[in-house]
Structures are given as C-alpha cells and as structure tokens.
Amino acid sequence: MFAELLQYLLSGLTIGAIYALAGLGFSIIYNASHVINFAQGEFIMIGGMASATLTASGVPLPLAILIGCGGAMLVGVLVAKFAVERARNASTVTLIIITIGASIFLRGIAELVWGKDFKRLDAFSGETPIQFLGASMQPQSLWVVGTAGVLIVAIGLFFAKTLTGKAILATSHNRLAAQLVGIDVKRVVLASFALSAALGAVGGAVVAPITFSYTEMGIMLGLKGFTAAVLGGLGHGPGAVAGGLIVGIAEALGAGYISSAYKDAVAFVIILAVLLFMPNGLFGKRGTERV
C-alpha cells in the first residue's frame, strides 16, 4: 500500500520536474514581455532532438547538450526578434497566436532537419532501476529532478544577483519606468527568450532518455508547462515550479487511484479550476492589473 503510494509519488515527481522546467520558461518570458510563449515546448524539443541526434553521430553528450542549448537560444532570439518584436504594438492575443504560429513553423523545420521518427538517447548513467522502500525509479529520474533543481536555483540567483536579471525583473514590474532608468527593454526581451530557450533545451536533453525525442514532443510538454505556470501564478518563478510538481503528482495519483483514462484530464481540470476560482494562481499577486 505504502510502496504503491510511493511509486506514484516518485513517478509524479519525475514528470512534475519536467513540467516545472517548462513552466519556468513560460514565466520568464511572460515577465519580460507579457507574451505567453507557446513555442516553449519547441525549445524543449530542440534540446532533446539535438542531443539525441548529435550523440548518435559521435559527439560527446555534454557538448551535444551545449550545442542543443546554443541552437535553441539562437532560435529563441530569432523568434523574439522577427516574430514577437515586429508585432510589438499588437494585442496580447495576437502575440500569443504569433507564438503558436512560430511553434508550428519550428516543428515543420525540425521535421525537415531531423525527420519524423523517434530518436533514442541513452540514459546518462545506466538503466538499472533504483529500488527505494519498495518503489523503483530510473536513474535518469534523478538527473531530471536534480537538473531541474539546480537550474531553478541558478535562475533564482540570476534574478536576485545579476544586473541583467534585475533588469528583467524591473521590466516585468514596470516597463516604462525601466525604460526611463536606461534599461534597454528590447534587449531584455531578447535575453528572456534566450534564457527560457536554454532552460527548455536543457530540460529536453535530460528528459529525452525517458520520453524519447521526436518533433512533436514539445506539444504536450508545452501545454502541461503552461498549466504549471498558470497554476503557480503566471510570472511567478517558484510558483511555476510548485505548479509543475503539483500537476505531475496529481496526474500520477489520478492514474493510479482513479483511472488511467483520465490522466491527462487531471491537468486540464486543474487549469479550469484555477482559472475559475483563483485566476491569479496559487502564488500570483492578487489584483495585479497586467495590461
């Protein structure tokens, strides 16, 4: 009984850590530009595909991840520069639709570059399951949770300690004021896209051994990440992380105790409930008017 619960929790934690990373990416971009970037899932895909295909052709794993990261950052900046920035004065809805367009475009390009089949990436440290109080987990799960943890702390420090991080925060609080004190808002937006692209790409690389990578892997991860971000309160970093873990664990428990048929529904029921009853999310500031 306990082992069963523990197994569900461990499964939920692994999956939740992935959602948390995706959710964090949504939050960073939302903060800097008030755009909900639906191409976030595609950054994850780029990271996963690049590391899987590069290692398959003999590139060492760390280098492959770095290249994937670099590629995703470049793509992120290009999306920001040529798709989002050009429509600067458009309404939020238009911007969101633009990012959806960008995500479809990126998937198409990826299909041309990498083909349509699934790519396999070997687990970073073997596949011997780790037994833990009667439950078992793949060693790769530790990599996912660990990487997510490290990245989340690093992002926190980046915002708190560095000038660029503070500039992004300042822009999120008051764009006009930030501009007045000499922050180059355009560059902040570019930096935020690059940052969340890198975050997504690393996430994609560490989850690829569990999920396999393919050009459409970003769709569901992106949607779940969005759920996580909304649940935590859009633009609230730690909130997105908590949101991701909650969604992941709720899904695993739902599949285990209720019915596996409704597993995906769990996430979307959560998002509906949040939007209806607490539109600012669990941790979002109440009554903040973001226009």
Partner: protein, 388 residues
Amino acid sequence: MRKGLLATIALTAMTAMMAVSGLMSGAAQAADPIKVGAIVSATGPASFLGDPEKKVLELYADRINKAGGVDGRPLQLTVYDDGGAADKAASFTKRLIESDGVDVIVGGTTTAATMAAVPLVERAGVPFISLAGAVVIVEPVKKWVFKTPHTDRMAAEKVMEDMKKRGLTKLALLSEDSGFGKSGREQTVAVAKERGIELVADETYGAKDTDVTAQLTKIKNNAAAQAVLVFGLGQGPAVVTKNYRQLGISLPLYQSHGVASKEYIRLAGGAAEGVRLPAAGLVVAAQLPDGDPQKKVVTEFTKVYEDSFSTEVSTFAGHAYDGLMIALDAVKRAGGTDKAKLRDAIEQTKGYVGTGGTVTMSAKDHMGLTLDAFHMVEVKQGDWALVK
C-alpha cells in the same frame, strides 16, 4: 510483267507492314492508363505509417511502368496526403473519384481516414483497398471496400493462442488511448470471452505519455495477472516496455502487431528482450523456412525496398505493396478497368501471396487473411526471432 508482279508484291507488303505498325501505334495510344488513386497520411501523426506507404506506391508504379505496364497499359498513380486528418481524406477521395476519375483507390492509412472515405466510394462504386488495421473496415462487409493489413482481432487471437500454449489464462490489458488502441481493446475484450481468457486488468495510457509506471504499478500489484498485453502504436509501447522492466515485473509481456518494426526494439533497447508479438512474415523474412510460400515474395520486397530507400522495411510498406498488387492482379483478371468487373475480380482474389500472408478473399471476407498469416515472434538480442 514479272517485274511488275514483284513490285506489286513488295508494295503490298510494305503497305501491309505500315498498316500493321500504324495499327500498333494506334493501339498504344488508345491504351488508356490504369488510374490508381491513393490517399495516405504521409505527414502528421501517422506519418510513420503513411510515409513508407507513399514511397512504396510511387516506387512500384515506376517499376511497373518501366517494365511495360499492365497488359500494355501504363499505370497512372495519383497520391494525396491527408496529413492524418479524416476530413481531408474524405475530400481527397471525392477529388479522386470526381475529377481524377480513378479506376481504383488504394489507401486510407488510418482507420479513421478509411471510414471517412467508405461512404463516398460506396456511393460512387469505386473499388477501394484500405491499408488500415481495424476490423470495422471489413466487418460488416461493404460491397466496394477491401483491406490488406491484418486486423487487431487477429492479433488478439494470436496472442491468446500463444498464452494457451504456455498455460496462461489470466491477462492484464494495457491499451493506448488512440483509435488503434481503442479498437484493439474492444477486440481483445471480445476475443478473451470467446477463448476463455480472463481479463483481470483493463488499463489505458495516452499515446504521448512519457511515464506509465502508475498504470503498471496497479498491474504489478494485481496478484491474478499471468501475462500482460499492450495494444498501441509508436513510442508509447516502448515507454511501457521500459517502465515494465524498471518496475521489475516478471510476467510475460505481449505487444500487438502495431510495434512490428525495428524502431520499437531500437527505442526500447534492452528492455524489449523477451517481448512477444504477432507479426507478418515480412518482419522475419530471413528466418522463414525455405518451404514457406511467403519466403520469396518477402525477401524480394525487402531487397527492393531497402536498396531503394536505404531504410529498414516496415510492415506498413508491405500493406501498400499488397494493396497495389491485388488491384493490378484484379485488373489483369477482369481484362480491363470496368469498375464492377474489377470489384468482382478483387473479391475473387485467390491464393495471392503478399507480404502480409496468403490472401484468399470471398464475398464474406474482404481481407482474406487467416491466422496463419501471423507469426509469433520474440525479441532476442535486439532482433526478432520466430517462436517455434
């Protein structure tokens, strides 16, 4: 006088020859192409099925034309890509019938696409050979609709036959939340009843799920289960297989024919060892005994496919090959492309040896495959091995 006679004979001969050659060229011009239409999902979520199908149809249309066509008539192939959307499949079917005026349609990669096309071909009266799996396509029998792949029902039967041989009677089912998986689930439930197999668990997972340990934990804790059957396509079954080993479940694991491609073994890696599944002879071409009627066909097809595309042959490519060949074989027997005669000829297909098995159709059976068309294979050292 003599000279004159000779000249006359020569002249007559020449005119006669000219007339004959004239007739012949006339005949060649009059040989209308055999118009074969195809709707496949070459892009979109089912592209791993539709893409090889499209390639095979184009490859063989080309080869047949180079070899002089069928009964001296060239083949004119029109392929449309429905992108995996049933509504597009319907509108392309309409276009094939109304503006392209095709004689026969091959295709409908997925069951959904096929079922969308069915009412249109039934109304227009165009022979239609589907490449999709579900049993609903040919049961109940529809006048103009045929199919080449094995059904999910046959897969379930084959698996349970193998279970019986091993003395197992209690099955845990884990099916995918997709058209293929749902239909497979229904058939498994029905076949289990007939064959006296008890279903002790009935779980599902999403086609894009990255973790199914929750469902598998339930099955693991189900003391009654003696074997597990997974019904799905694509990467899902590979995820299940990996999770299965992660949880250390020791029950025999069966998969459906939906994963009968090397891709599955590649994705699941070592976790796939020992997994059993029903598969067409094409998958184990090299291992078939020499006396097997399919041996020659599948070896040849594998060679042509792999030489042309330098990728591994898949059963789905084989379905398209079978569809095209059955259609052309029927054209020969019907002596033309009169649609009603062609339909009858397809229905009378008898002993056609294809990549899927030996096809003998009848008015009651528009697929024509028996359970013998499936071979039970087991994954051993990263390759398929026939279960004896």
